[in-house]
Amino acid sequence: MPALCRDCLTEFESGARCPACRSPRVLSHPELFDLSIAHMDCDAFYASVEKRQNPELADKPVIIGGGRRGVVSTACYIARIKGVRSAMPMFQALKLCPEAVVIKPRGALYAQVSKQIRAMMDELTPVVEPLSLDEAFLDMTGTARLHGAPPAVMLARLVKRMQDELGLTGSIGLSHNKFLAKVASDLDKPRGFSVIGQAETEAFLAPKPVRLIWGVGAAGQAALEKAGIRTFGDLRRWDRTDLHARFGSMGDRLWHLARGQDRRRISAHAPIKSISHETTFFEDTANPDLLDGHIWRLSEKIADRAKARALAGRVIVLKLKRANHRLLTRRLSLREPTQLADRIYRTARELLDGVGDEGPYRLIGVGLADLSPADGADSSGDLLDPQARTRAAAERATDAIRARFGKDAIAKGRALR
């Protein structure tokens, strides 16, 4: 069986230790040198970056997240031992780990480090699809000749380089499609390297719970459980047409995934599908004026991003999280795409007015979806709203003023609410 030493990158024919450096970090798998679809996921990325910046934190539990009301965005592995997890409310995390050092996320810093990692990945293959700052898919198909080494070796070299040059660790999943590569990278974190081959795919998946599937959350899991589906094995027993009848287009996806099939390509230029922003309040609120101010500020942020990328969207989404964490989402399709804060705001306001719920809420979010190039967007007026044109012109003028005199040069009174 082909084997690889993850420390000195020696290739050899199986064995528990590397014949060259005697390291026990040996990777061996029958298909090791044949697989080429990989997922790289940094280990506790934000926390690791913070620890690298400030060595005093090295042996302390570190949590990255916003304020007492926010949620944990990343916890280092020391904090994780105490039970802290990402997406956990901060107060709960601090109850589990009171001695933790809480750091507010420093987006610009992480983005800068992410760029360095990206540059390293770009040296391996032109087909890198980033999922976020700290994880990406790599399609290494056909690169073996170029590098003079199979993908597995190059990937092991990548994480070694990240550790040597950037002081960060990452985990690799290597398989024959995106779904399995992502599942694999999560198998023995941190500093992991897992391989799922063609031959073992079905046996590997059978006992696994269906929540491994991206897009199957609590609700999806409940729906599947109702149908008696807990594991991939359960899913395998279902007929394709039955799955389709019960779950629609998702049923087709499930049928394929149950067999470990995933035909999505890795694409270096995945188009942006939506733009959204959200705010968690310091205190739960149902105050309409406060919510109004938040909607306006979020709408402006979205419009700024849409304008910067010359995009316009046709669907406006409003997201509210109630004090009991129940999520309410409302969406509305416009007749024509927009990139104007005014239209996003007005539509989101209408959604809020029609939400039929008193609150209080702990979070509000606004999103713009169904994006298309902005060319021609917002060019026709509204017969029934003659002021719309004037407001649009005012917004464009505001943008021009800000471009010249800075972001705070001019603002709506509404933004101060």
Binding site: L334, R335, S372, D375, A377, S379, S380, L383, L384
Partner: protein
Amino acid sequence: MKISIERATLLKAVGQAQSVVERRNTIPILANVLIEADGDTVSFRATDLDIEVVDKVNAMIERPGATTVSAVTLHEIVRKLPDGALVVLTDGAATGRLTVEAGRSNFSLATLPREDFPVMASSEYSSNFSAPAPVLRRLFDKSKFAISTEETRYYLNGVYMHVATGEGGQVLRCVATDGHRLARIDAPLPQGAETMPGVIVPRKTVGELRKLLDDDDTQIAVSVSETKVRFATPEITLTSKVIDGSFPDYTRVIPQGNTRKLEVDAAEFARAVDRVATVSSERSRAVKLALDEDRMVLSVNAPDAGAAEEELAVAYGDEKLEIGFNAKYLLEIASQVDRENAVFLFNSSGDPTLMREGNDESAVYVVMPMRV
């Protein structure tokens, strides 16, 4: 129940029923048509809880009775039967099935009890009048293209039918708009309609109503209340809820002071718009009209796809004007003109434009320009 009925008659009645039932619904009985046989007529009734259609046809009734069966399935079966076939429908009370026999074909369909079928509550109509089919056909055909599909302003998802004061006194008026274009169509006020409350007739109802209006000689009995509207021929009765909302004040949308007048052959204009719009496949493509002394240049410029230009001889005597419109909207209003020249009245390139047929004020269209 046992009835014999001619295929063509049955097809028409079931066809009407199946177009009313919602394809996707969670209440099984709403997918069914209620068949009631009594005396020498059979009635076919279908509803989506907002619209109800009842079609009464003559048939040979051996045994009266009633049942409900899937409208779509029955329609498919009858559609596939040979022309001229005699269809026998028998309701087996014991089996709970409806058998459909025609020649050597034999079908047995699951039924649901007629008691479960929701029948729309009858209501008091405050106004009853009668109008010739061609009059209603014109009112709705010329306005329905402007009905909005937007969910936000649900009160625009229909045609606003009401009594108004037109050029020569009171008129029956239909208005539809989606905020980008507006159609206002007038007809002489039928006797008895004077007290009619204004109602917004939903888009689906307008579509169903159209099927009642094909025959020029039919008189349509119209009944209107604050919440419902009913259109009836001797055979078919269409009852519909109206949209619960108030239609915006459209009168202030119709420009009064537009003085720049353009007259153009509507068909020629529509063809030219269609041709130049070909170069761009965008959803909202703009056609630019450049007007000068008796001359109009239509052009489309799509940076990625290409450009097109066409010149048209027109009657125009005002100062130069450049104005852009959505190609689809222009095509739609131009295609409403069928007898005379299209007359456009412009103000500036940012203001709504008015269009009518010759000097006929009984059909007026407004369209919002685009920035180009």
